[in-house]
């Protein structure tokens, strides 16, 4: 039989109306390392979920296409099946038992056991553990990686790198593992740790294990993989030997996604000179979106885009300034310093925020639209409030709230039955509009909008973007849009800042060629120097 | 798998048997020991004086003439009884040892005179 380990043919997958994978063909040889790159939402993870037969795939109507593992067709309906078939997966967030030793984790639920008679009555689970045996197994696995981990060490006391290795060791300890998927294994590692990991990966490949290596650090990908596949909009836009391509090529193959129904505007260069907010050395402790050291100036009246790949920290900036996560650094707004870590202050100073976590932070799902819109304004600016007894009793003026709600419903064309309909019952797009409405109701001088189009249908997307655009043009509100959708930002923003590993990698005018942004996204040096164009 | 099922059934059965066994060895019976004249099918057994009765070599009780007492015997099956007839100074003049079975119901009656005079039906369920 051929040396082909994995062959995926004509994989097509669509979640309800929108297609995320279009006829993808992928092959992997034994002992080959395949670098799989692409923007967030390009379809990498969906492809892997299909390979692993994650329930979500089948709950959403399965997929088209065939998967061959060593020649014969397979179709896993649960990850456990995939594991049995010898496919291992290492996620970037660890799935390890914190209080267990490396050994216990490596052989988790595959422990070697000793027989005792109780097994006959109560089943295998009453067999006692054979620690010595477990230990050699673990050590053997660790040896294959040729890294030094104390097998008796508790996970919770390990440095991040060792956790990562333990996890890989667990996958390869399964004697039948032939294919290993590494999803951003180096994301949480330091440079040195990453080096060791890459070495280990190569070694595994040399032992005949096929590896799919997913990463955003293009340098790594180029260094470690034999072949590189780039996904964009669920299609393969580039497939080359690593030796025959370079970062720039990959970058431009990644970016430049097309979005349906986006009103293309004449990108007129607007020039802004009066800064409204300056951010210096901002750090934000937001899980998964850590901001390390951001310096940024926001000019009055502009629309600034903040881009970057997931986990790089772009979302942390807005959340940090709004005081929702522990933050530090120097932020000045309209000349005065803006204290951090207290959500009340920025709101009172006229800074609005539309959270990326719409259902979690953005809305009270079981309250009516009206209250959701009016709430913040009521609490902060005491709008929609009747005062009695000289302001001792602050009575909620439901009539005023209704009135305001009706205005916004018309203004933003929110589809609903009545003002008091529960927000839970609205579609994603309309929920997003409610969030915008609440932000507008504050009528802020500076408005942060995070992921305005995440998870809403195409029509709503352009509508929401138009709202933001109009608000800026008509009220002159300064708006900062944080989004993973580069093209959307390019459509409405004046400037776009790209965040990489918690720092601003660069700021370019929206009109700049997308491949430049691609490079920034990847953390590579841009060819156009910043500064030159930032202030126009 | 099948083997295990058998094992489990076996275990349950074993438990049931054990509990029956426990019941039989643990069950306590209260019997009346009587040292009174006793008439049965015309023949009357007369009291032969105060007696010391010892069951299974542990429960000991003394009965004056014309008196009765209760004793709790544990477990089905054979029980040993030792009767000593006493004189006024309280030392045994006559002593008999026998083994008997309980009816397995509450409140059996054991008649000392009947036993002493060698009748076999000295213990029975009282009507």
């Amino acid at each position: 039989m051929s040396s082909t380990l994995l062959r995926m043919e004509g994989i097509t997958k669509s979640f309800f109306e929108n297609t995320v994978l279009r006829n993808v063909n992928l092959t992997l040889e034994r002992g080959e390392i395949l670098g799989l790159v692409g923007e967030n939402g390009a379809g990498k993870s969906t492809l892997m979920n299909i390979l692993f037969g994650l329930p979500v795939i089948f709950e959403t109507g399965g997929f088209e296409g065939k998967i061959y593992l060593e020649g014969q067709e397979v179709c896993f309906t649960s990850p456990l099946q995939a594991l049995d078939a010898g496919i291992g997966m290492v996620h970037q967030e660890f799935s390890l038992i914190p209080g267990f030793t490396a050994v216990e984790n490596i052989v988790l639920n595959r422990e070697s056991t000793l027989y005792n008679f109780l097994v006959e009555i109560f089943g295998e689970r009453l067999a006692t553990l054979d620690y010595p045996k477990m230990k050699d197994r673990a050590i053997r696995a660790i040896k294959r990686l040729e890294v030094s981990i104390d097998p008796e060490m508790i996970i919770s006391e390990m440095p991040v790198g060792h956790k990562q290795f333990t996890e890989i060791a667990r996958e390869i300890e399964k004697e039948n593992t032939r294919l290993l998927v590494l999803d951003e294994p180096t994301a949480v590692l330091t440079e040195s740790e990453a080096e060791i990991l890459l070495e280990a990966v190569k070694r595994l490949a040399s032992q005949g294990i096929g590896i799919i290596f997913i990463s955003h650090r293009l340098q790594e990908v180029l260094e470690v993989s034999n072949r590189i596949v780039v996904l964009r909009d669920g299609e393969i836009t580039l497939e080359k030997k690593a030796s025959e391509t370079n970062i720039r090529e990959i970058a431009s193959a990644m970016v430049g996604r097309r979005i349906e129904g986006l009103t293309t505007r004449a990108a007129q260069e607007r020039v802004f000179s009066t800064p409204t907010m300056t951010i210096e050395h901002l750090w934000v402790d937001m899980p998964g979106e850590t901001v390390r050291d951001v310096n940024l100036t926001i000019y009055k009246g502009e629309i600034l885009g903040i881009g970057g790949l997931a986990g790089q920290g772009k979302l942390g900036i807005a959340n940090g300034i709004m005081g929702l996560y522990p933050a530090g650094g120097k932020v000045t707004f309209e000349g005065q310093p803006l204290p951090l870590n207290d959500p009340t202050i920025p709101l009172k100073k006229g800074i609005g925020f539309v959270s990326e976590d719409r259902r979690g932070v953005g809305l009270i799902l079981d309250e009516g639209i009206a209250l959701n819109i009016a709430f913040t304004a009521m609490q902060i600016h005491e709008l929609y409030i009747k005062k009695f007894l000289g302001g001792v009793v602050k009575w909620r003026d439901d009539r005023a709230i209704m009135k305001a709600a009706r205005e916004y419903i018309n203004m933003l064309a929110i589809k609903c039955l009545h003002e008091n309909q529960k927000v839970r019952e609205l579609s994603g797009g309309n929920q997003q509009k409610v969030c915008l409405a609440r932000a507008f109701a504050l009528n802020p001088k500076l408005l942060f909008v995070s992921e305005p189009t995440r998870g809403i249908d195409v029509g709503a997307k352009s509508l929401v973007l138009d709202m933001i655009y109009k608000r800026n043009r008509e009220q002159g509100t300064t708006i900062v849009v944080t989004s993973s959708e580069l093209e959307e930002m390019r459509a409405i923003c004046d400037r776009i800042a790209i965040v990489h590993e918690g720092k601003i990698a660069g700021i370019l005018p929206a009109s700049t060629d997308s491949s430049e942004f691609g490079l920034l996204l990847m953390g590579a040096k841009p060819t156009v120097e910043e500064g030159v164009i930032s202030v126009g | 798998m099948k083997k295990r099922l058998l094992m489990q059934i076996g275990l349950v059965l074993l438990l049931i048997i054990v509990s029956i066994f426990l019941y039989r060895i643990g069950k306590g019976f209260q019997i009346i020991v009587e040292n009174k004249d006793y008439t049965m099918e015309g023949t009357t057994f007369e009291v032969q004086g105060p007696v010391r009765v010892i069951f299974d070599d542990e429960h000991k009780l003394e009965l004056k003439e014309k008196s009765a007492d209760l004793v709790v015997l544990i477990g089905y099956g054979e029980h040993k009884i030792k009767v000593e007839v006493l004189d006024d100074e309280g030392n045994a003049v006559k002593s008999i040892e026998k083994t008997f079975k309980l009816s397995g119901k509450e409140g059996d009656l054991l008649s000392i005179p009947a036993l002493l005079s060698g009748s076999e039906r000295y213990i029975f369920k009282r009507e």
Partner: protein, 348 residues
């Protein structure tokens, strides 16, 4: 058929069953010659008696602190108020309101501390609340012995110190509310107008509170803490406030209870008092993170209805007193049901 199914699904099976049960009890009553009118008025009396104690659940549930198993804390504040008012020989309405007035500062202080504690144990409120309640009751047992009360109607005759376990308030302010504007039809039917009015007043006040800026902030905290925080609300402040409110209502509630009941029960008396109230509000349709006044009213009525009807009806049917057992099963079953299906309280 489906509509009935849906309807039941909306109000929840146990609620439906218990409502039907209660209904059937009322229907059965005449056949086992239990007077409807007297049972209804009993129900009303108990309704007024317990209403406010149940009301004391609402603020904490609304602010996401879960069911207020710590109610005994509030009750203790009330007891202090009551006993002190007796010590002062305050009579009638004056006495009643003195009791309340005195209990308020206690309630506020207790509530504040209790709130501070609960803010540090977000997620585990209910269990801790229960035990805080228990241990505070036990602690007060010691206090009742030591506190320097002198009023001979309250202290043990022989020792001359240490409060009695039950103290009659009849000649002080017993029944002041019950008899206020009360109307009596025949010898059996009696409506404790005053008590019910007072309960209504409390409901109104709470309703008004939840229509103020602070009130709506509080329910926002319960509905979605993240949202509230993003809207610039100090979650912990709101939670503490809600706990204080609950404790306060608990204090007032027990005083109303006592004026209707006629006695002050000290020592282990308040021990299990939280559970009936919790059960009642859940019975009314509240979940562990959402509760409204309608829930309180319906719940209290259903629950007290069951408590009054089962002894009379069931007993005269079966000639045995199963009411206690039924009470235990119904109330705890109700709480259990809520805990197993209730939405996880979000807290961070």
């Amino acid at each position: 058929m489906d509509r009935i199914k849906k309807f039941i699904a909306d109000i929840g099976w146990p609620r439906a069953i218990i409502a039907l049960f209660l209904l059937s009890l009322f229907v059965l009553a005449p056949f086992v010659n239990v007077r409807i009118d007297s049972s209804i008025s009993d129900t009303l009396v108990r309704f007024g008696m317990n209403g406010i104690l149940v009301l004391a659940m609402v603020p904490m549930v609304q602010s996401g602190c879960g069911l207020n198993f710590g109610l005994p804390l509030g009750i203790i504040a009330g007891l202090l108020g009551a006993t002190i008012s007796l010590e002062l020989n305050a009579l009638g309405f004056l006495g009643f309101f003195t009791a309340i007035a005195i209990s308020i500062p206690f309630a506020v202080v207790f509530g504040f501390g209790y709130g501070q504690l609960l803010n540090r144990v977000k997620g585990g409120e209910m269990m801790i609340a229960t035990y805080v309640g228990f241990s505070s009751v036990a602690f007060m047992c010691i206090m009742w012995l030591l506190l320097p009360f002198r009023n001979p109607t309250m202290v043990w005759g022989y020792a001359g110190k240490g409060l009695r376990t039950t103290i009659s308030v009849q000649e002080y302010w017993g029944g002041v509310l019950n008899n206020f504007l009360s109307l009596r039809v025949g010898e059996f039917f009696f409506v404790p107008t005053g008590t019910i009015l007072f309960f209504a007043l409390m409901c109104l006040l709470l309703w008004m509170f939840f229509h103020t800026k602070t009130g709506s902030a509080m329910s926002a905290v319960g509905a979605n803490p993240e949202f509230a925080r993003a809207a610039g609300i100090h979650i912990d402040k709101m939670r503490t406030l809600s706990v204080i409110l609950s404790t306060l209502l608990g204090a007032i509630g027990i005083i109303v209870y006592e004026q209707s009941f006629g006695f002050i029960q000290l020592y282990m008396g308040p021990f299990y008092m939280a559970f009936p109230s919790v059960a009642a509000i859940l019975l009314g349709g509240a979940s562990i993170n959402r509760a409204s006044l309608t829930h309180v009213i319906i719940g209290t009525f259903l629950f007290q209805g069951i408590l009054t009807m089962t002894p009379s009806v069931i007993n005269s049917m079966l000639q045995t007193d199963m009411s206690e057992v039924i009470r235990i099963i119904v109330s705890n079953g109700m709480i259990l049901y809520a805990l197993t299906r209730g939405v996880r309280v979000k807290s961070r």
